[in-house]
């Protein structure tokens, strides 16, 4: 497992700036609402040939944190890394003539290809289920909209559940309770899971701050996950110059067959 570190500058900057501020400027601070910031030192993660999943570390900071609330551990942070939205077809197999065959399907528009969450504490300890639903936060609460909304409600519910279950089974939807740690009263670190089959594209990291179970603030940052040099070039070639790519694949096969003959045969 390689670890990708994305230290945020926000926390460090605060540490430098705060002592320089005159006391008068600090006075109204207590009345300011808390806010949360995350920053990524890199906006790009490359998938190399030996990529087999990774841990992504994001650092963030709370501004105007109330020391009393902090000390009682009543600040909670949930960090989400959401992949680019794409349409998905969910198919269901049924038994036909003894064989298991895809017979039913349901298309969903703009399903995030991946959804990875880290929280400071167990879900039920952060806030109540109604808030999660309202904010569409968590793999079980993100809105999944079928392309054909006129369908049978029960069927749609069944396929929506199957979609979540399959995404979790393939590690694309994952959660890590306790994946967010407070390093100090205002600085936190979140560790998220990138599955081996993490899709390329622009991912969005979002951090949600809760105080005593109430949602306070949200912050987000963009992260582009892409294939590294060689893999990326091959993928692009296959997509954009598909004819030449095919010819090259054929040439490589001819060459391998010919070299194999030269190396091994004696006739």
């Amino acid at each position: 497992m390689s670890v990708v570190r994305l230290p945020a500058l926000a926390g460090t900057l605060m540490a430098i700036l705060l002592p320089l501020m005159p006391a008068a400027a600090q006075a109204p601070e207590t009345t300011n609402p808390e806010n949360i910031q995350i920053g990524l030192s890199t906006d790009r993660v490359s998938i190399t040939a030996d990529f087999s999943g990774a841990d992504l570390t994001i650092f963030g900071a709370l501004d105007n944190a109330d020391p009393l609330v902090s000390r009682h551990g009543r600040y909670d942070v949930i960090v989400v890394l959401e992949g680019p939205p794409r349409p998905v077809v969910v198919r269901k197999k049924n038994r036909v003539l003894g064989m298991w065959i895809n017979t039913q399907s349901e298309t969903f528009v703009s399903v995030p290809v991946s959804y990875s969450v880290a929280t400071t504490r167990a879900w039920q300890d952060v806030t109540n289920p109604a808030s999660y639903r309202q904010m569409a936060l968590g793999a079980d609460n993100i809105t999944l909209i079928p392309a054909d909304k006129t369908g049978d409600a029960e069927t749609i519910a069944e396929f929506t559940a199957a979609l979540r279950e399959r995404k979790k089974a393939s590690e694309l939807f994952s959660e890590r309770v306790g994946g967010v740690h407070f390093l100090s009263q205002s600085l936190f670190r979140a560790t998220l899971h990138l599955a081996p089959n993490v899709p390329v594209g622009t991912h969005r990291a979002r951090a949600f701050l809760f105080k005593n179970g109430a949602f306070i603030d949200e912050s987000s940052a963009q992260l582009s996950i892409q294939k590294a040099g060689f893999e990326q070039r091959l993928f692009r070639a296959a997509q954009e110059n598909s004819f030449l790519y095919g010819v090259a694949a054929v040439a490589l096969a001819f060459l391998t067959g010919w070299v194999g003959r030269v190396v091994f045969r004696k006739d």
Binding site: G246, W258, V259
Partner: protein
Amino acid sequence: MGIYLPIAEMSVNMVVLLAMGAAVGFLSGLFGVGGGFLITPLLIFYNIPPAIAVATGANQVIASSTSGALSHFKKGTIDFKLGTVLLAGGVVGSTVGVWVFSLLRSVGQLDLFVSLLYVALLGTVGTMMLIESVRAMRRAAGGAVPSLRKPGQHNWIHRLPLKMRFRASKLFVSVIPVLGLGAIIGFLASIMGVGGGFIMVPALIYLLKVPTNVVIGTSLFQIVFTAAYTTIVHATTNQTVDVVLAFLLMIGGVAGAQYGAKAGQKLRGEQLRALLALLVVAVALRLAFDLFVRPNSLYSLSSLSGI
């Protein structure tokens, strides 16, 4: 050791793929077959999406057949005219095959169709080969001289119009069955990712009565170019050829084939055929098993394009 496949967009174990290529290469050297009919199911069992397994299988077939075709070219045992007519049919069949492939993929029935074709074809060919080789072994045990069916007898195929002369094969036959056979092979190549030698060779011998000395060379010649055409069409239409995957399989395959060929010289012809038949039937049964046994999850996800 993990390696990331850029087209399949997944991380796989490189050693497993090399070993898979080597094992299939060994068997193909041992039995003198292309091995495409083993590679594609093995890739599917290894969770490579069938669409990618098939297209990549076609690419791998080129490498495994090139070396054989070259040695037949040197020996002069290729009927180029017959091979070219077969190839013309192959191009048509392959084009139709890739079109059907895209269509099935978009309606989510590609996996089923590929499995059914494999079960039906491998099951039939394997059973027939098994019966034939057991008979041959019995005859050999009984002391009788095994005799191949003599070419030259005429059947209904020789009464078709549009006859053409194939000098190297000493054949004067209608082009319709030749084109048709080529088209079937091309269709199977694009949908199953196989070379099609297991159908081509018996068809050339028994249906067209091609002399046995040019059968293998001509069949390999047609397979190499049909597979090349199929690879390019798959790459252009479906973007499902994973060249990294294909290359790993080729490396293992080319090396394994040499040892297989050596081992093959120590076994008798009918024993080899019986073993190959058992292998073919086993692959068919394994694929049938997956069709009939309740899968772990009834649900599957795919993008709109079908991967």
